[in-house]
Amino acid sequence: MKNVIIILAITVISFTAISFTDGIVTKTNIPGGNNPAFSIPDNVQTIIDNSCYGCHNSDSKSTKGKMKLRFDKMPNMKTGKLVGKLSKIRKTITKGKMPPKKILAEHPEMALTKEEASIMTTWANDVIKELSGE
């Protein structure tokens, strides 16, 4: 009986440890906001979940990722700030700079396919257009 408890404890501890070292959060919790022009369609949401949200959220362990962009804050951004973030998403994805090579070396499954990249940039363009008429 004692042995079982010990084994159980070790299992729980090691799983917790693994999830900490991994450091990639995939659960998205993007609340509804007060900017009605901003919405995330399901196909975009899936890509964000798989390739972006792990670093770009308010609880992220990546200081830089958190500083530059937090998807969960986007719905409540002022129009100018929001357009700025979307413009930068468009730019970094077009240039193939995100997700960073360092992350992809460990998580190749997070790489954006050509189609996914185009879904993201089209989305950014659409919301920018909605917000600024550009």
């Binding site: 002022k78 100018g80 700025g84 973030k85 550009e134």
Partner: protein, 150 residues
């Protein structure tokens, strides 16, 4: 020992003949940010001119040593890259959404102390931003962004 010194001097002399291609300077910039936005306050204007415009505009001032290799190579590269990322002299040619993106970059880089670059402020002490000056730039960038979409 003397030999090594001669070699170093020799190399320094030879590299002077490699063109550094310093990006051209132009004082006539009809698309300039400050020229087209006379409402930008003087304190912001001064900070941008002193701490940013050397690399982020066509109005680069090249001191004498920036013509001396290998410093000239560094100055050339940093100025070229700086202008490519953000050129205040070409401001009105940017799309409004890209202006917003660049202003967000300014806000981030300045508040994190990433800009102006260390290699620049080591020599240009007047380009160092105090906490108060950082605050002035950041709140200008944020307000200016919103004003673009009002």
């Amino acid at each position: 020992m003397k030999k090594i010194l001669y070699v170093i001097i020799g190399v320094l002399v030879i590299i002077q003949f490699i063109p550094a291609n310093l990006p051209e300077v132009s004082s006539d910039n009809p698309n300039d940010l400050l020229l087209n936005n006379p409402d930008i306050k003087v304190d912001v204007k001064l900070i941008l001119k002193t701490s940013c415009y050397d690399c982020h505009s066509n109005e680069t001032y090249y001191p004498w040593y920036s013509y001396v290799a290998p410093i000239s190579f560094l100055v050339s590269r940093d100025t070229r890259e700086g202008r490519e990322e953000l050129n205040f002299s070409e401001w009105t040619t940017y799309k409004k959404s890209d202006m917003a993106g660049l202003l967000d970059d300014i806000s981030e880089e300045v508040s994190e102390g990433e800009m102006p670059m260390k290699i620049f402020t080591i020599i240009h002490r007047d380009a160092v931003l105090s906490d108060n000056e950082k605050e002035i730039v950041v709140s200008w960038a944020d307000d200016f962004t919103e004003s673009l979409f009002e």
